[in-house]
Point group: C2
């Protein structure tokens, strides 16, 4: 038996008119002992159930309360009221399970406005709210669009290891993984920790990136992408950091920096357009919420664009492609820099750009997404390809309004000798990465890739501001509840 | 500039005939100083490049060797030879990077037959072999089919936490996650490990399942599925165990056991049919390999069906639905059991079925995939729904030929009091799972779900026998290389 979702009933209501159907869901509201707003999570919209209380046992009516779970059989009719095309005249109502209404007041299911903090503390229940329903449906659409984009372009999905023996990229602090009983860690004769006795026979960590393994895969399969969890043990209690987050990392053999920028631009536009197309109701709700939030702010802090407007503009506008060197020129010559308005003034070529600089370029100077490329070699990772100028590397960052860097990537250094020298300079051990070096020894090819933090993109698309609100169960310092 | 893959060129060759195109790839073979077999990973098929050595510098010809990387510009013409529709008459050849041919002999890129063990030791290079190219393209197709199946059925993809504070399911040994310096673990005043000072302020582990969090999400969003890495710190050095593997776990509000079985059957058939449709060349290659492998075996150990035949049969046949109680009857009455052919003889109702029993049912008795359901409560997990008989739970396992259990699932216990009693009996602490209990307190609904190990399914579909050969970089005891 195929169960129709409320989304299906509402969207294809003409097929259901004057027929008896069965629907399931939770009560969002019960007005006048007559109108149930039923929601099953498939859509932000509720289905209106009309109950003639004379036809039902009093016990059933009494059990229809906020959050209770119902199975309804009834006839689909055109709705008399405003706000919906159809409603269901209930013929049978079954309460499906317990609902301890006396305890409900301490939960976020209590129908009133709750703070995002409180919703976070009850992350297991926030899926039932309009806001988090919308966010997680959009998160799904973003994820599916990512897989679709790459699948359509002949990329292969790669699962790179989560537990890793390498700490090569040095992309930040790593979590240790061990099967040791910490009360009783085995020691070698010279009293050091005997990692040979640990599960993997060595010290292991949680991955910070699947890129290096992704490169190895691309050297055989051509076009690959990862999409999996990555980890940072950084003690950053901010609205932009998670200890566990999901990352997408395409890697493409034979691509150069320009191909890589093209791919990143196509990719972001595809995913955002997909969400605009497939999540109209949820995005409309988030757009309204965003507008209301802006109204609470002092005028100078308000976003220039509405949420939908912002998303449509990103899809429409050509991303500005600007070299790091040009960007420094622009920043040096900016009123902001001259008047000392930046917390970190730009003084010379070589400076690492801060979020304030990125946002100036995107939001004030270009008023469009910006791709910065060819960064100073010193401020970028060892694997990025050295340019002819011997000063810059073929790196690229995509900067978005309101959020700054959304994608970071590069063409990779494919020349074995150049790579070796760079690793030496940057204190990365080629011995430890023997297998990575092999990919440059046997049929090495130019290749390029980038990384996208899923939650950053979901933040951008939903207009939310705290990254903990776009992942179901956030992991942050001192918090691994659920 | 859009780069065409070799797959595109071969499939749409009529569009390219008599045109000059650019292709990229690695040399698989160079015959008679004239014919290059070029492969770019997009397909198992090579593109034939015809080189007239009189037109090229000797240095270039000398650099065309096994594994070297080339960019070719040339004209697409109809092929004179057998085995391909087209070939490329090379006009320009560029060697793209280093290829240290003198070191090649120690690698698996050396063109000869290598053992699967040796290929595993060079997992970073095995992507370039026909076999592993095929396996990982199929793995991609399986993954994409999984996302497509659920997306088409209005499921939402959920990322449940990888790092977790819970050890609730008790599904086996867990890896610890810590940011402690193991040389210097902070202690409380009474000399115990001070987990309050660890990153998350508590003891944390790597997840063994996202099910419980998935259930919470399904209680809001209706239909969800996870697809992410899970971990077991079990010291099992077998061909069927990984310490890190990818699991798919759908969870559906309002579904009962029968719905759950329907979903599992539809799901497996969809994914396998998708692979048959989309990976014809790779599956044909794997089918041939499988047949050759069977020939090496003594006749009694050979598979009854070829690989493709087996896959088509699974799609075609209705899965047999058999209660545990019926299955025990069948096994008790079997010749095998009576003659003592089982390593673990079935003596009575209540016995836990072993792989040999599962395979007897599937391969000998029913000759079809089998879904066993309604298992004794004692041998199943605490969250499975108690049946009316108070002896069995609404569990289900899908058993496949050659591989045994491929899916395990259940309807979940949605009745708060029944669940509490069960947890008490099974020594699971409801306090620790306060949030899980909440999902039964507020609008509890019948719901069901299951788990599928991705690698098990890829093993089945590819006809491989060692699970380390269907994941790019396997994690097993004493092995976390790459």
């Amino acid at each position: 038996m195929h169960k129709q979702t409320i989304k299906e009933v509402l969207e294809k209501y003409k097929e259901f008119l004057h027929r008896d159907i069965t629907v399931y869901g939770w009560v969002r509201a019960f007005r006048s002992n007559r109108f149930i707003a039923l929601n099953d999570g498939s859509t932000i919209n509720n289905l209106q159930i009309v109950v003639d209380f004379q036809n039902f046992d009093e016990n059933i009516i009494r059990n229809i309360t906020t959050a209770s779970s119902l199975k309804i059989v009834g006839e689909v009719v055109e709705s008399q009221g405003a706000g919906q095309n159809i409603e269901i005249i209930a013929k049978k109502i079954k309460v499906l399970g317990d609902n301890f209404t006396e305890d409900l007041h301490s939960t976020i299911l209590q129908p009133k406005k709750h703070s995002l903090e409180k919703l976070r503390e009850q992350a297991h229940l926030r899926f039932r709210t309009n806001l988090f329903g919308a966010i997680f449906r959009v998160r799904h659409a973003v994820s599916f669009a990512i897989h679709s984009f790459f699948n359509e372009r002949a990329f292969f999905y790669m699962n790179t290891p989560i537990i890793t023996g390498a700490d090569a990229e040095g992309a930040g602090e790593m979590f240790g993984v061990t099967s040791f009983d910490l009360e009783n860690i085995p020691r070698t004769e010279d009293a050091r920790i005997d990692y040979a006795q640990d599960f993997f026979g060595r010290k292991t960590n949680l991955t910070v990136s699947g890129q290096l393994e992704g490169e190895a895969a691309a050297m055989g399969l051509g076009r690959v992408y990862t999409f999996g969890p990555t980890f940072r043990a950084e003690n950053s209690n901010t609205t932009r950091h998670l200890a566990e987050f999901w990352m997408v990392e395409p890697e493409v053999a034979f691509n150069n920096l320009e191909d890589n920028i093209d791919l990143a631009e196509d990719f972001l536009k595809y995913v955002i357009q997909y969400v605009l197309d497939k999540c109209k109701d949820d995005v409309a709700f988030l757009d309204k919420r965003f507008a209301e939030e802006q109204k609470q702010k002092p005028e100078r802090d308000r976003a220039k664009e509405g949420l939908i407007e912002k998303l449509e503009n990103v899809v429409k506008k050509r991303f500005m492609r600007v070299s790091y060197t040009e960007a420094i020129e622009i920043l040096l010559n900016s009123k902001e820099n001259k008047k000392g308005k930046f917390a970190y003034p730009i003084e010379n070529w070589g400076a690492d750009l801060q979020s304030e600089h990125e946002r100036y370029l995107v939001e004030k100077h270009f008023e469009a997404p910006v791709v910065l490329f060819n960064y100073p070699a010193e401020i970028k990772a060892f694997y990025m390809r050295m340019n002819e100028d011997h000063k810059t590397v073929a790196a690229m960052d995509v900067l978005f309004p309101g959020i700054g860097e959304i994608i970071g990537g590069s063409q990779r250094e494919e020349r074995l000798e150049v790579l070796k020298n760079k690793m030496q300079m940057m204190h990365v051990d080629p011995e430890e990465l023997w297998w990575y070096m092999d990919t440059r020894k046997f049929g090495s090819v130019p290749h390029a890739g980038f990384g996208l933090g899923l939650e950053r993109l979901v933040l951008f698309v939903t207009g939310m501001t705290n990254i903990r609100d776009v992942i179901p169960f956030p992991r942050t310092p001192k918090n691994a509840e659920f």
